[in-house]
Subunit: 353 residues, 4 copies
């Protein structure tokens, strides 16, 4: 019953098997191997984009920070939600990779930036050399509150950003979960809606340590390989990253993993809905739940062996709050979460309530 995160487990079976299968024999180093070279056509087909460029890396922090390094100059602002992962959980990786650009957080319930909020901010700026000019917008899909931007919302935000000269990045650490939630195509949720660069996450959904930076605008891809090398993010045995991504995409394995995780989250939510005094801070859209527990329940759950994080957020829906005695927590399901674990957790909750 470990719901702490979708990165507390190892790789899924097909991904692990691919690592083993491709381990033997000599292959050119530093990404010149056939497995790595094969990623480009595969992602181009998947995203229906003829020029997309692919840069595999081992961590989501590296994917986000490298992406932003070609979008925001050192003197520029990068807009994000005020609780975004890049803002709060990467120890300043974007600042490091951009050489000192500034992240500027915008508020919004559910971890989502509303188009009006973005428009208001950008239109209200005084433009003077004393103020860092905004140059990029980064959206988290799923958001830090487990919510999902619709295709229309992404399009509206991108349109506003582009109109003001900004490029648009999507932090897709839980890209597959969001895609399953929306039921649209990868292209629809990204470049067709105005996304310029995507951090395509895999580690949280079945890979061991693999993400891909997908660049939809070829001019933004020009310097990324140098920056990736310079950051120590080109593995000499590039096959390791490529084998994971290859197996991850093969036979829609990634979609099946995400669908399963989302289903487990929905099942948890349905069960929790029957617990008296418990409510969810936001509706479940992907594989994350944020229950607000009545007094006493947290202790009972932890005593029973459930593992998860306490949570706090400034982006609760209007009118919602965590009251005296209550406690907000975060539960995350993964490709590996079993129905038995879900039922065990629900049973624990029911008994305690």
């Amino acid at each position: 019953m470990n719901f702490a995160s979708d990165n507390v487990v190892g790789a899924s079976a097909p991904v692990l098997e691919a690592i083993v299968r491709h381990n033997g024999g000599a292959m050119p180093a530093y990404g010149a191997d056939p497995l790595t070279l094969g990623l480009t056509p595969r992602f181009r087909t998947l995203f229906e984009h003829p020029d997309l460029a692919v840069f595999p890396v081992a961590t989501g922090t590296a994917a986000n920070a490298l992406a932003l390094s070609v979008m925001v100059p050192p003197f520029g602002l990068c807009l994000c939600h005020e609780e975004a992962h890049v803002m709060e959980d990467e120890c300043g990786a974007p600042e490091f990779y951009t050489h000192g650009a500034k992240l500027h957080g915008l508020p919004g319930p559910g971890g989502k930036i509303a188009p009006d909020t973005l428009d208001g901010f950008l239109s209200g700026l005084t433009r003077h050399v004393k103020q860092m000019p905004p140059r990029a917008l980064t959206l988290s899909q799923l958001t830090e509150s487990g919510q999902v931007y619709t295709v229309e919302e992404i399009s509206a935000l991108s349109r506003i950003a582009h109109a003001h000269g900004l490029t648009v990045h999507m932090d897709g650490a839980r890209f597959a979960n969001a895609l399953q939630a929306l039921g649209c195509s990868p292209a629809e949720m990204t470049w067709r809606a105005g996304i310029d660069i995507l951090s395509f996450g895999a580690s949280k959904n079945g890979a061991l340590a693999a993400e891909a930076i997908l660049v939809f605008r070829s001019d933004l891809a020009e310097t990324l390989e140098f920056r990736r090398k310079r950051a120590g993010h080109i593995l000499s045995k590039g096959r390791f990253l490529a084998a994971q991504l290859d197996a991850y995409l093969a036979d829609d394995h990634w979609l099946a993993n995400a669908a399963h995780a989302n289903r487990m989250a929905a099942r948890l939510a349905a069960g929790l809905a029957e617990i008296p005094g418990l409510r969810l801070a936001w509706p479940v859209r992907g594989n994350e739940l944020f229950p607000i527990l009545p007094a006493g329940l947290d202790e009972a759950l932890r005593r029973g062996g459930a593992v998860y994080y306490d949570w706090a957020s400034r982006s609760l829906p209007a009118g919602e709050m965590v009251r005296e005695g209550e406690r907000m927590i975060r539960l995350i399901t993964a490709f590996s979460t079993t129905e038995a674990e879900v039922e065990e957790f629900l049973g624990l909750a029911r008994r305690a309530a």
Copy 2:
């Protein structure tokens, strides 16, 4: 017959098995897992050092650059051999991680800095605010020419460096091969000889993608974890790095791998010694050979299926040079190199000569 590098092959069997074995079940993310925590006592025992700190990363470039980031301030000089990997092959990773420190290359045959050269450079410096002050020395063990610093040489260089206020780093991408060449202990070749931080390489000698930054001076370790996070080099599923390093060290697997690679190199060298008109630029010490081929041999070898790199170097021994028609190449053996491959290569050479 691929002698291009020791990173063109995958992981050794015990390392790969460890990845598979530790894949199942939930473990805390970001290095709080028991496998990662177990690395510290293991390395402390191996290096006979009670306070050593361990920071696993996936690439040698990351290991070197992160190490230097705590040794050299942005305005400082880092001394290295003029053909060092940090100088020539990391696309400016040290400059990126140190925020603009300068690498200053010193000459020397065999890729080695002589103590007198270091002393002369440091003693001859004018100290003015216009000149970047030297703050660190980095030594490559093996060197880019496959040579090895003796323990006495390391001690002499460290003594000079420390006397001038510099810290000393060792780039141990081929640490195990050097250790086998010298027949000394890890402690003797590092901190007992004055090394402050070691990039302990494993990827070239059996791991898939794993290195460890070993810090022997606790004050230098203080900020490294923040810097590692900020660089995107803390894997969320930290078990992947730890499992590799664990298996790499277990049962002296790493030493056996290096001993084998060195033996294959020695065997190659012995065979090549009998080829008329062929000589080695430098003696074989570890797992690297740099033959200077007589006219025509290169073509014959490549036509026969041998894979390797052309080579050029400014640090040939006094009197040595590559003459008109000759060609210098680099051959590297690995833990996985077979006697059959060696014999096939030698047969090819004999027939062509």
Copy 3:
């Protein structure tokens, strides 16, 4: 009637005369001249501090950013008021000089951080490698709203900051005006109250282009000269900066200038108090006024030739706000402001009201 800022005028007569007087003859370059060398004993006496180190620069932005560069590592947080000059008006200079540290703004009326706010923030932090650790606090004296920290407040803030391992910087762009407002000694308002580094402003109070970074903790001064050189902030003809600072301090010229500016501000405030419908957003403490004008008055003043800035602030006192039709402006007096200008402005206001 230019009240736009205290930097729209040139140098005061004694400062300008010093530049002219010290122009002739040869002097060593890069700060080795006797004028520059003389600054150290002069500032040490003035601040009653035997070890203080002095680094003259030409701009306040350079002073602040260089000061912070030795206080905050690249991965650290620097706390400041959310409307501080370093946060809003220096185009990311602190981020540039610190190599990507993050400024974190704290709220508070009048541009002041309350000790409780600081304590609450620092005590509430989760300490994890994902979060940038706080390493410095910077206070603006005067604040962006023209308010002044009392010695007791500075002491309380410094005590909290130091207890959490932070160093404390004071942005003294209007140091003299604040000092005159408090009537204390330079030592009392700085190092005796816990300030570690002071940006001692002079350009806004009589100098042409001169500030001094004063470092009260000798360990923090060690690398500043290299950083200053590297930033291009060591003038080759160092006499230019030194002559200004020398004349600025001589015969309490700087105090007289600030006292005059503050007096002019007080006189303006007294006159404005009689204008119906006009009120000040904050009380006048130094040389800055923030009147909230009734409808129509702004146009009349500008038509009459008054020059000043519109203003907006998130740190109005509780209950205060700019109402429909009203307009908030900023007026700044300088050493050169004349009573005639003040009266002309007041006359304009009276006639319009």
Copy 4:
């Protein structure tokens, strides 16, 4: 008899008078004043370039480093002569402003890079992501050895650089002296010969602390103002820089100053030619002389009150060297050097010889 450098004296009379003359009255801050605005048309006329952009700064180090910051990305190489000022005397300012780009020094007698040397270097490069790609070339005019590139040489170097995708910078710390030596126009020596950005020096030739970055390619100018602000190099009282540059250019004052300094250098050289055992390392082209003194002369000169620097260089002409007992020194004349000083020095030398 101070021949240490052309920055040991203050400003020339017309420059100083301009500072005084423009000190009074209010002007907008941060470069919006009419004096600063007037620099653009003035420089455009002088350089016969309709789109040239002007960025005044107070130091040559700032001018060079800011110029390079828009020419070289953080992962790029900047080629320069191995003894260039940017390489040896700016404490890593280019590395700081470019966020870690690497300066790569090319050899050549007289501090000059020969077109063949540049071509050979660029054509011989292996292009791999491990190697930092060359992106800019910077030429010093005068060189560190007081030599001058001809217009033809500049054109040849620029053509090669541009053909390889590099931009070209000129460090014109002694631009006026070089211009007088060549007798050509500012346009001919710069953009018509392929220079993309010029550091136009004034401080060494009559200004107190003023240089101008002149950008001949408008795309390179786009971000410079943000970078200048961020570096603390926009003076609030911008009039100070503008007044200097205005007076410097008025009535060909700058050309007269340089012509005088060059004349004094030529006169010194002519006199020294008669001293037995003394020779110049390189011919005198501008205002710098590098005599190789016979044994004993140095002591006699210093005892007699002459001030200058000892010198060492790796770019002596073929066959030249400083022999046992000899000593190489550097003498620099300035706009303010008098014939009396020259004669006094020569008399001293004659008596000692």
